[in-house]
Symmetry: D3
Subunit: 242 residues, 6 copies
Amino acid sequence: MDEQFLRADGRALDELRDIRITRQFTTNPAGSVLVEFGNTRVMCTASVEERVPRFKKDSGEGWLTAEYAMLPAATHERMPRESMRGKVKGRTHEISRLIGRSLRAAIDLGELGENTIAIDCDVLQADGGTRTASITGAYVALADAVATLKQRGVLPGDPLRAPVAAVSVGIIDGRVCLDLPYEEDSRAEVDLNVVMRADGTFVEVQGTGEAGTFTRAELDAMLDSAADGCEQLFALQRAALQ
Amino acid sequence: MDEQFLRADGRALDELRDIRITRQFTTNPAGSVLVEFGNTRVMCTASVEERVPRFKKDSGEGWLTAEYAMLPAATHERMPRESMRGKVKGRTHEISRLIGRSLRAAIDLGELGENTIAIDCDVLQADGGTRTASITGAYVALADAVATLKQRGVLPGDPLRAPVAAVSVGIIDGRVCLDLPYEEDSRAEVDLNVVMRADGTFVEVQGTGEAGTFTRAELDAMLDSAADGCEQLFALQRAALQ
Amino acid sequence: MDEQFLRADGRALDELRDIRITRQFTTNPAGSVLVEFGNTRVMCTASVEERVPRFKKDSGEGWLTAEYAMLPAATHERMPRESMRGKVKGRTHEISRLIGRSLRAAIDLGELGENTIAIDCDVLQADGGTRTASITGAYVALADAVATLKQRGVLPGDPLRAPVAAVSVGIIDGRVCLDLPYEEDSRAEVDLNVVMRADGTFVEVQGTGEAGTFTRAELDAMLDSAADGCEQLFALQRAALQ
Amino acid sequence: MDEQFLRADGRALDELRDIRITRQFTTNPAGSVLVEFGNTRVMCTASVEERVPRFKKDSGEGWLTAEYAMLPAATHERMPRESMRGKVKGRTHEISRLIGRSLRAAIDLGELGENTIAIDCDVLQADGGTRTASITGAYVALADAVATLKQRGVLPGDPLRAPVAAVSVGIIDGRVCLDLPYEEDSRAEVDLNVVMRADGTFVEVQGTGEAGTFTRAELDAMLDSAADGCEQLFALQRAALQ
Amino acid sequence: MDEQFLRADGRALDELRDIRITRQFTTNPAGSVLVEFGNTRVMCTASVEERVPRFKKDSGEGWLTAEYAMLPAATHERMPRESMRGKVKGRTHEISRLIGRSLRAAIDLGELGENTIAIDCDVLQADGGTRTASITGAYVALADAVATLKQRGVLPGDPLRAPVAAVSVGIIDGRVCLDLPYEEDSRAEVDLNVVMRADGTFVEVQGTGEAGTFTRAELDAMLDSAADGCEQLFALQRAALQ
Amino acid sequence: MDEQFLRADGRALDELRDIRITRQFTTNPAGSVLVEFGNTRVMCTASVEERVPRFKKDSGEGWLTAEYAMLPAATHERMPRESMRGKVKGRTHEISRLIGRSLRAAIDLGELGENTIAIDCDVLQADGGTRTASITGAYVALADAVATLKQRGVLPGDPLRAPVAAVSVGIIDGRVCLDLPYEEDSRAEVDLNVVMRADGTFVEVQGTGEAGTFTRAELDAMLDSAADGCEQLFALQRAALQ
């Protein structure tokens, strides 16, 4: 590694932050996980409702929805509470939808029966990578919720298909860096969020180059780094679920 | 104590639940506390803005506001997220206003200078007494935030006047019970929330008897029990702040 | 009484303002009352719907809801209309909920059958004590609505349990004053709203000491004064209903 | 008059209902009028703000706005409160805009200086013709408010140009009827609202024939009847203002 | 014509702008028309839903609703998008309601069966007369939608009663001018919108004289001009529908 | 090409639909383009405001925002209008944000001076690929708006950096297909939207595999196809702008 390029927290370019996954963080929801990617801390819960939204009625299939939100004091400067503003920001909607699509890739809706799983990801402390931490933690909460449903005997089959995890990668001063904290994220030229399934396939790839576009070679290097990062996250999820 | 009347959790009628106050629960806000009253867990933060709302402009005084909210999965049955419904419930408004008034009794707005302290109480897990836990924890977050402001040298004086704490009392099967968890709260005939200052005076007294009215003697007994409970809470706050 | 302490309107400390209760103020609702506490004037109506909200469906019980609002020109300075702002203020929610709880203490929901009574309290002119005037007047409107329902033969039983009335008390310059107009309310150190039932029990006690806390002795003196005030209000309600 | 055509309330086809105009109905606004057209009762107020909206800033001119609303229990069946629904109905907006345009025809904005007059028309009881009663009553409240402003010496000139009044006309069973109560309004084939100035000119003419279109001859007959009705209303306004 | 009075676009006082009606402008809705009154361009669609709103359920009748909106860039200065502001302007509501009433006069709801026709009028470019262009174009879209429904065999009868068209007239410098573009509309003393049916009867007459009232003689002259204009519009609709 | 795999519209797998770009579609905005990708038709406008949002004030830089919306009758089944629902859907927000980021990559905000360009993309007819058509058309509207600003002499420099275009690619029955119409989009296993700059770099890459994840090889094939498609779109933009 280039001596002149030290990441502020001393990590190698391809190194994840400290990841901690705490199950049963709270006890009311069927699954409840506190996930930490460094200083980013997200409470991920999976709640079960024994009914489906209208568009799934009488389909024999279940559904999974997700909502993401930041607590007002999660960021460095306190942000106005979305419920008090009366509108939800576009960014919030966008991340909620991303989490929902990602987690639906982890399950087989047909095996879920006419049940709905509601994922909530509430950011207690934000330091970059809140959406990727949310997805990674929510998978563990989902696995716990499915286990609960199976114990209760309400599931017709086994809806869990494969673990899903996510990580961010960016290009900073021309170098590919894995798992960006806020300080790096805000000065990255390019930002890529990758959601993978444990079978090595991609669920979502979202790269954005507002502050500078990226070449195909840079995209390839970022995808390589993200795939390595996800491998490590799958191992951490497995360890947490044992 | 009457053998026939055992509280579900084995407590005496005048006994608080286990109370835990964790400071610096997160690091972005000036004050951040996790307060636990048994299974009720609330993250209380105090954020500082170096400006005041319009009605305080050029008054030489500061202001303190508070917002209370429940995470959707905090309760036994998941509740819809207020930001997504597009409206805040009356109950939420009512508790936010109560917390604001209570904490303003703890400070001297004139000594605060033209700064605003924003209190956020977000319930991670709800098991009764969320408003009283919020007030009790928010005082500790407020004390930490004031200390931070003093260190930064932005305060003209010392705005902290006296600690503030709160507890609930109820009448269940004719007996006065202190600090009700959800199971007791939902079958109490009468519910009283009391906010006190450490000098033994009352800040707020809110008694409601929808399921059954209460006599003056019952009110007196409840006030006695609440005053005892608050004494214990002041001791716990002092211990936490050392 | 202390000569040096003359209330601006010449009343004794424990004297109510002129109270007027006009029934059948309008003719569309089942009950319609104009209540006046001095210059405070509130139109209180009780409308009947022969159905219940979802949470009461098939319970065999009825429900009672209440909404409070101020006309924009009710106050000294015109206030923006809540419907045009698109949001209802926290204060409005808080008072609506208080009126609802208070009036539910006046009836037996089981005797109401699956009917809903909607109480509306619209303040035409505000001069302090609008919530207590609302409760006092709404009881009379409710009694009229119940009589109407009985005549129509839609009630399974007699849902009226006991009259309910409310009054405010405050401490001004150290003295307990009954039934505060706006001018007194705005400089009171402590403000207590008390809702009672005609059997002498309490329905709600809401004391707030934002501008200065209060001792137990002060609370006791305020409760005494409020109980006396409510006695007089019950007499006025009875007279109006004859 | 045709014997076979008796109006339900016994009036002649070209006869107004009983009109009552009560000034100083409330005391906080600069002008406050209770206007009654038979059983239709509207509280009309005119409040003064010593500033103008942005689009009039530094124009040397004033402005006049109007808001119309129905209390929830004003109609036979209680209607949901617009503030609680979170949206204002199209009908409400439409009538508010009509009242604003009509009253602006009564004043010279240049003579008003940079002041705004806010007209509020709140329907206490609705029995047809609420918009025409509102305009007729609001003119009287406006005249009182202007007199108040002149006494306070804040007006550069005399903004009152001419009285404005309004009445409805309809065709029922082929006959032109003046000033329709709700029962007639709901079965009229055609409905015309006419706003006039006391100099005999028209401010607004709004005819609608959803349930049946109308010929030019019918329109002419309705305009004649409305002009007669407005003449009588101007006389009643003059009497009220003396 | 008076030489000194040349309209900016060279038209005679009683001359319409160039009117173009393009059917099948888009292909998803049952009827889709681009209507142009000079530079004013409105996309008018008629969509069919095989159900009715609640208040028409089991009535055997259908319903017709209409919504009007401006694209943000339709006007000279871009206007904020109503969906982003979170509220619809009063003007928008008012015009939507006018279009709905006008088009309902063109059909027999009983012959429609329990189907709903939704008219959408979206202004692509605004240059005065958007509401009259909308009504004129929407009739053609409606006729196409009805033809589609008849082909599908879902209609019990023939709901089209008579064509409906609309035009604006104004008084500018004392002269009656037909079909005002924006530049004329904004300086007209009086503005009259007239909706007629092809049998020569009136559906709506809306005259407003905010900037100056109007006499009966002026109203008569404007109605004459509007009737002539509508005659021409009916001919253009017939031509388009062949 | 595989004979057994015929696209419904007869196109080759790597063939764009018919693309049409019509400049000056309307005349009020600085740039106005109708873009058509087959049956998908979007009106893209670029409006200029000579001010910046607060967060850019005194930065010497300009800003570019974008809003995307569908007309209610754009889709096969009419959709409720977002302004009437009172909330904007998450999908709408997400696409608006994507268009904004993409177009900001086409300009140098520093060369724009303190001006704001507002892009509006209103879908008149939807048949898949509305977001990619929007970006492709909006670039042309933006180029026209910049030219207008330069003519007016309000620009300090030349803000246009490079053309930006976008296209969708999907995997259907295992084959990579370019530029999906609705019918293909709804049954694609994987969907990738790619935004490129004419220098061959990527601005955004958004791949989603809700209905089935994708391998790295599949991602590579889709990126190749998208890059070819964008090349063709840049040529069409150049032709349109000549």
